[in-house]
Symmetry: D5
């Protein structure tokens, strides 16, 4: 089941650079783990913004919330989820 | 080059059903042609809305505008385009 | 799997009263059928508005879109869907 | 009398983790008390957000405000309340 | 139980003047009936707009929705309801 | 001359509790003084929010601004003022 | 007593040109009458829009609403009123 | 003096195709006349929308409003104007 | 050339009172200087808000930006500028 | 390929003046380098705001994101990108 997810990151300006760097490294590893499992099949940068649009492929709403709320950057992100369905004109 | 595109369709209530059906059939054929050419690799329905989220893969902005403004339903759609870039955490 | 759905109805002022009444009667029968099947367990009127908030319980996104887009009033509604997950403080 | 309530939590990034944890534990106990009394019959997580949608069942507006403004997290929440009425198509 | 209600009226430009006048006369009579019963204790014009802010005093949400959805101008109004509670600094 | 006023209070999380309590006590005394003088005839809590809707009855715009900008909580409030006029259907 | 007023005009596309021209001529005469009386001391066009920003100088809210709701174009305008007070830094 | 101008075109669906085509041809000629005079030095299509972003170079606000309100499509456009100034980092 | 300017002031709660007072005194002197030169002919307080609506009369966009960005409170203000043109119904 | 980019700068009030000045100097040098290379052909100040509208001319979306995210002020800016296409009425 597919969902479009937009994530906007807002790190507090007072966060020390090392803390931010460590957080981003953990986030990257976490994200790539989910990508390899096929749960997070697409991840794109929004041009000009510290934000991404992603496609998630999960079993249900609970799994999606568990994955998103476990993101290391979750406390610093604004996330919006849009449920997707099959489009009748899609050839896939 | 990838773009996320959201299209919301608003047909005027006064449009006769046959005209609407013909328009939708032409739209479907046009869309599937672009999908087969790889220009419109993804097309999803937004759950509960007469709207879609799509990914387009085009050479440049001009090509994208030409493709979108040639949609048979273009006069009845509100379209918003978001340019996408490679994400540094993407494994692709 | 639960979703919160808000539906706002906007009938065109030019629609004849008989047509509107027939549409609403079909909508009511359709809605009550889904309620009896347990797919649409809750349906509330928003006070002062021609709108409702509903809870749907469906197998997946595709089923939800099929149910919503089959609503007799669908062409005259603005619908917004919010996916819900289990809350860790819920006693249910 | 039913109300739909949406609560969005925004803890200040400077709050120490122990203080946040203690606050959340108190919030959970308070919430489960109201759920057991039947005042807060439904509580759902909004997927991907530190937010919930809830149904409250109270005697009147004053009782609802007293319950909400006594939430331990109240100073850190944005709350929006929508009064609900019986829907003529509901089978309940 | 008190509610603040804002009503914005939008009559379709195509409505004949006699029909609009008749509707407004019925609306006035209906409104004054509720005012005399104490259900609609306050009614003010928003300066410069075809809109009003009102206070309603009703037994519950269902009664408020019944009163509002029975307004002769209801099909042509956008209505927003805000539930009010006693303020701890009020001297009343 | 009547005005509808909405006030939303946002105290900075860093304000010490004693300072906030003192400020609220001064605010209450100030508000009750104006209520007794008939300048602030109505004051209601918005259910679920640290906000109020009020009716002010003043001689002119300057008096209203003087009263509002002298509120002890003024530096921490977002205020919106709507001028009200007599409604032709009001029985008062 | 001064108010800033913004008026946006939206004539229905179906209105015959002669009717629109007659309405605009009446509007102009009405506006210039109020300007000569000193009630509408300033009237500016918003660049690029069929809209104006105006300053009104009236005795009270009721007079302002009477003047605005008597505008020949009132049924086709969206109007927003902002009450103004003396500014402590103004040299006037 | 430079201004950024965004124009969104909304033709009524009921306008006959010949009328729309004639209007667009007149618009194009008018626009190209201004471009040749140097008043409208830049004109870009917003990708995916029936809209443009333009730079105008005019003597003052009055000239800009005269040029914009004389656009053949003016009655069918929503226009927003942003005044621009020299940027201290610009090399021009 | 006239412009309508709205300025909203947001001083950080952590700014010491003496610093804020000194800043406001400098702002007042600066503003009154421009008023005396005729560049800032009108300055009004928005009732209930720490904000003003002003009319500026300047030679061009660059002069307006220079005047506004030199305001002592500029770093703490949100400013919105609307270019004004002569209105055909104005008697001035 | 052209893009319209709006950048709004928000420096934290707590940033020391020397740090802000150094950042702005680096930003200016970086911007002028891109202008000289023809990647950032236009840069305008939005009148009254700490913001700019710019035109970028780049090979593709990835290049644009690389340029923007390398701006020294990037962590303190809100950026919005609009892709532009050739306009059929443009004489260029």
């Amino acid at each position: 089941m597919l969902f479009l997810v937009r994530m906007d990151v807002r790190l507090p300006p007072s966060m020390p650079k090392e803390e931010a760097d460590a957080l981003k490294a953990t986030e990257k590893a976490y994200s790539q783990g989910l990508q390899r499992q096929g749960k997070w099949p697409q991840l794109y940068r929004v041009v000009g913004e510290y934000a991404n649009y992603s496609i998630f492929d999960v079993a249900d709403n609970d799994e999606l919330h568990t994955l998103l709320s476990s993101l290391p950057l979750f406390p610093y992100m604004q996330i919006h989820v849009t449920p997707l369905a099959r489009h009748p004109s899609s050839i896939h």
